[in-house]
Amino acid sequence: MSVQFNTQNILRRDVLALAGTGVVAVSSIGLFAGDAMADPAAVAKAIKDRIGGKKSMAGNITLELPQIAENGNTVPIAVEVESPMSSSDYVKAVHIYAEGNPAPDVATFRFTPDSGRARVSTRMRMIKSQNIVAVAEMSNGKVHMVKNAVKVTIGGCGG
């Protein structure tokens, strides 16, 4: 598989350095020079646009991600929401957002009572270490949210 997000060594070094020091900011060199990047504020705005003024709650939602992702091109991610998935009480949708990618949106998954279980697994791209946010919209209007941090060591050896 070809490298989709970046192959430039300069950015790779950056990411490795960042993973080591835990610094969150990243310089805008590399492939995305001049491009806008998402940040926590952009994700917060995307979520607000999606759910309106509703308040989100913690709990009932689990985000499964590796703590350290060696290859940012394909990071496994799974979201599970606790719900009876009955016709009167089910999970309508799960939205995934990335705080450090070029754009905040990752994907939206829609469920129905016929889903039986509100769980979805996929693979996503991460350009650098960042927080991933999952938001679940329930049929009763409630919103649940969870946030996990992932360290990305593109092409590294898990250091």
Partner: protein, 107 residues
């Protein structure tokens, strides 16, 4: 457009919740990469929509953005109601649709 694969159980008991795994070969070109020789951006071309119907009703739907990895993999769950076709549809930015159908046998 692309080669798609679906893995679902051959037969399930009525009321059982079973997992369906899907995979499609696609580059998912983000629109942010540059051609190294010309310096020009490679235009975006991704699958932006994936939906699944079972018994004529949508049981799983999704909207994808460029942050979804190349060769997108998705697995999800469905509750067995009645025997019938489960239809999968992947829609690309260009409007091209890849379809696949598997028959679910409910006992």
């Amino acid at each position: 457009m692309a080669k798609a694969r679906v893995k679902a159980p051959k037969s399930v008991k009525k009321g059982e919740v079973f997992e369906v795994k899907t995979l499609i070969s696609h580059k998912m070109e983000t629109g942010l990469r540059k051609n190294k020789k010309t310096g020009k951006k490679i235009p975006r071309k991704i699958i932006n929509k994936f939906s699944v119907t079972y018994g004529g009703k949508e049981v799983f739907g999704s909207d994808w953005h460029p942050a979804v990895s190349a060769n997108p993999y998705v697995s999800f769950f469905v509750k067995a109601s009645a025997s019938g076709p489960m239809k999968f549809q992947w829609t690309e930015d260009s409007g091209a649709v890849t379809e696949k159908t598997v028959n679910i046998k409910v006992t």
